[in-house]
């Protein structure tokens, strides 16, 4: 028996309130039918006795207290899934918008997912070669990792993400079992088109599932978008044993949608007006990356977020950094001098890299080399700071070497063309070549044996 509730009790922002509802359950989906025959969907977000608060995904524009009929569907939000979703484009709540008709589902999954039991997780150890020196050598991406790109408006994060998607080589993955899930949250039409075009040019479009919530789409849908995308990713990875790379952009827009929604519910705000549960909320997305024992598929996340005012202590990058396994931080200054990709390596980090590199994965010298590059580049910063006070001329001989090393490092190691894919051996050899311009005593993070093998000042 389906009960239709006539009318609404109140409307405020994207929330509507309905009274005298008997059989509501928490987070259940509802359908609102308008007089003109159109339908909207919503979700129950609070229950007080017979009074329920519903969040309407497409917004409340045109709703009045008398012109709607509301039907409870009896189940939480689910999306239809099958292998056929590959190559398809959906809106933010998982409805196809590419004009190719509905999906014939082989499974229907709750978009909220369930936490993976830590006991069932497989610890990620497999290196993904992206062909980008700064990432491969210094912030290595590991299969099953969640590694966000911290960027700012106007920097080349989209180009970087596309390059990673195009060049990523997962050991053991063939084209057959590799796919990309792309979730756009509040991005501009141009950006969505850019990604679509780039995927097309790279010839991977039929292996991409896109969920698009653009900047002029309703914000409430935006809260569901990453959940739909991750549900699709988990389905492909753990049911069809595929390796999935999930690109989510822009997490800042997502968090802002959460803030807007939270304030319309009248919740007590935390820092900068974001809801107090933003950490848990973001974690419920990011933690859906990983690998499971006894299953050959994997979900690797590459979320992109723009730091408002390039501030890494802003709540969104801050909370993200506490959840994800490292971060790739783009640097405005490097971007300004034309270094692409402008990866600021000092604040960047990959937490899983230590167990996925070295002998058997990349090369035995990878970890000491990376450490040495970090340490030496940190000294470059000190030398530059000193030079800005006393002038480069006055620097000691060693400091001058560092300044020189810094320039080489930025122009040759960090910098590469958007179409250039370097193998890990090329990257590591290049690293040694640059380190060889420094005096041997300065290299205190590598042992003698490696120095003998790789330190070749004559080549520098």
């Amino acid at each position: 028996m389906i009960i239709e509730h006539l009318g609404l009790s109140s409307i405020s922002g994207s929330l509507v309130v309905l009274d005298n509802v008997l059989n509501a359950s928490f987070e259940e989906m509802v359908e609102l039918r308008l007089e003109d025959g159109s339908k909207r969907i919503g979700r129950i977000v609070q229950i007080d006795g017979q009074r329920v608060v519903i969040q309407v995904f497409e917004g409340t524009k045109g709703l009045s207290l008398v012109n709607t009929k509301t039907v409870l569907t009896g189940e939480p939000m689910k999306i239809a899934l099958s292998r056929e979703i590959l190559g398809r484009i959906f809106n933010g709540v998982g409805t196809p918008i590419d004009g190719l008709g509905n999906i014939y589902p082989t499974a229907r999954r709750n978009v909220n997912g369930s936490p993976i039991n830590p006991v069932s997780r497989e610890y990620p150890r497999n290196f993904i070669q992206t062909g980008i020196s700064s990432i491969d050598c210094l912030t290595t991406l590991i299969r099953g990792q969640k590694l966000p790109i911290f960027s700012g408006s106007g920097m080349k994060h989209n180009e970087l993400a596309v390059q990673i998607v195009r060049q990523a080589k997962i050991a053991g993955a063939t084209d057959e079992n590799f796919a990309v899930v792309f979730a756009a949250m509040g991005v501009k039409h141009d950006v969505a088109d850019y990604f679509k075009r780039s995927f097309e040019e790279a010839g991977v479009l039929e292996r991409v599932v896109m969920f698009l919530n653009l900047s002029d789409d309703p914000i409430i849908e935006r809260i569901i978008t990453p959940r739909c995308a991750l549900t699709a990713a988990e389905y492909l990875a753990f049911t069809h044993n595929m390796h999935i790379l999930v690109v989510m952009t822009d997490m800042t827009s997502y968090a802002e949608a959460c803030r807007e929604f939270s304030s319309s519910k009248g919740e007590i705000p935390g820092r900068k007006g974001y809801p107090g549960y933003l950490y848990s909320d973001l974690a419920s997305l990011y933690e859906r990356a990983g690998m499971i024992k006894g299953c050959s598929g994997s979900v690797t996340q590459l979320p992109i977020l723009t730091m408002p005012n390039d501030d890494i202590t802003h709540p969104v990058p801050d909370l993200t950094g506490y959840i994800t396994e490292g971060q790739i931080v783009l640097d405005r200054q490097l971007d300004g001098v034309g270094v692409y990709p402008p990866v600021g390596i000092l604040p960047s980090l990959s937490r899983l890299m230590k167990d996925g590199i070295g002998e058997g994965f990349t090369r035995e010298d990878h970890s000491p080399l990376a450490n040495q590059l970090f340490a030496s580049y940190a000294k470059v910063q000190d030398a530059r700071a000193l030079a800005s006070v006393i002038g480069e001329e006055e620097l000691s001989a060693v400091d001058k070497k560092y300044i020189e090393f810094g320039k080489l490092f930025e122009n040759r190691f960090l910098s590469q063309s958007p179409t250039e894919s370097r193998s890990i051996e090329q990257t590591l050899d290049l690293g040694w070549e640059l380190l060889s311009t420094l005096p041997k005593e300065e290299l205190d993070r590598v042992d003698e044996k490696l120095l003998e093998q790789y330190y070749k000042p004559t080549n520098a």
């Binding site: 997912g113 993976i116 039991n117 830590p118 107090g276 933690e287 000193l386």
Partner: protein
Amino acid sequence: MANKNVIYGINGPVVTVKNSTDFSMQEMVYVGNQKLIGEVIGIEEDTTTIQVYEETTGLSPRQPVISTKSPLSLTLGPGILTNIFDGIERPLRDIEKTSGAFMEKGSDIPALDLSKEWDVTVTAKVGDQLTGGSIYASCPETASIVHYIMVPPTLSGTVTFAADNGKYKVNDKILELTDQNGTVHPLTLCQRWPIRTPRPIANRLECTIPLITGQRVIDTMLPIAKGGTAAIPGGFGTGKTMTQHQLAKWCDADIIIYVGCGERGNEMTQVLDEFGDLIDPRTGKKLTDRTVLIANTSNMPVAAREASIYTGITLAEYYRDMGYDVAMMADSTSRWAEALREISGRLEEMPAEEGFPAYLPSRLSEFYERAGRVDTLCGKTGSVTVIGAVSPQGADFSEPVTQNTKRFTRCFWALDKSLAYARHYPAINWISSYSEYDIDLQRYFDENVDPNFMKCRSELIAILREENALMEIVKLIGEDVLPDDQKLVIEIARVIRVGFLQQNAYHKEDTYVPLKKQYKMMEIILYLYNIGKQLVTSGVPISKLVDKGLFDMLVKIKYEIENDHLEKFDQIKEQIDHAVTEIKSI
């Protein structure tokens, strides 16, 4: 008659019940048709508020709420060690067996393996007078730990039945205790204890024995005592978790309780993987044999995250009562504070600083005060050491959780972003960190390591502080213009920073360093410093000393001298002497 208590309202993890007088504060309840576990956190005239430890999706009004008449409690008995639990002591391995890789709701699985038989030795006899906390039986729990079975702290009486030695399951009757009123209490291998109540002790002791961790910056510079408390604050990527892992691996406690509170799932998997392969250097047994993991990852329900800290400390106290030294690592207490804030927000309480509830400091102090070195009720000595990681928002140490934690802990190991950026690990900043235990521990170091230990330590600290001041000048005008005696300070401080404070967790010799070697390293560094000072005063340019490569040699001794070949320090000393004679002879 049907249960009349039903759900009225639902808001996230908070559920309300109207017009009921059946509930008491902090009582555990079962919520809804799926029997989700919840706890009563507020009672008003007409509304009872319950926080639910699982996802509330799908709950409906008018589903039943069942009272259990007891507070949220843990089952304590053999089988805890080597296990991995969620925030309310549900065994994750058993949950995996029933519900697969993705966790389902409402799993009601006993905490301990009920079918396993333990090899029990019963030590109490019929007619014995037993008081709360006394030991009446024991069984080997793992290869390295014996589990003592104790009378629950609230009971005492005369033994009227004692089972024979033999194999028993957790719920088998071992003993009957008749109290003064004549009531007979059957005792098994396990007991229950509410998580929010500290277990009673006989009396507290002074903390005079260090918890030896093998980490130089901690043991030497910022020592912690057994029974002490420490906070590790640091922004993301500064190595909190890494430091906690190192401590859990190498510290000389008998039992390790590792609480992953709202942290990454992969990290817990890593602990599971790594600890399974590692050997405890003291017992030669597997490291997992002394470890309990509590994993409540960031995507698991928030209310259980709030409980996980208490679950951890209650388990720690239970093993302390048997006379063990227990170390509890909580990673991270900020997530726990945020869980408090989230629930407080749902209750629409008046927020204090940054939205945190006003009772945050009192909750934090209640928690840290459960640490300590004590005489237990059974007459043994045990301790609980608490090491809590703090994740300050925006790496800003002035935020409420860091500041309040600072007030209630006696060690403060501040992790520094710029050290971490330069890959100096452990990135503990030696200037802004402190330990209040150094005086309490002086006697131990004097007697067990070397009478000069504390003197060397203060000299090292003095050099580092001087370097810190000099660096202000160097930043402005460069190092070249400094006089030679100050250059020497900078050089030797570099040796201390890179050769002593920096420690490589992945190096076979360097990952754990015994106190003796730490002392020898300090001694040799200061030896070179004093010789350098003499040379400089006699007018020898510092560059001559640097050119001999002595400083670089000392930086590498941490790798080159094995932990069990301390006699090699004498050779180093000879090399220094030799070089100095050469310099003087020119």
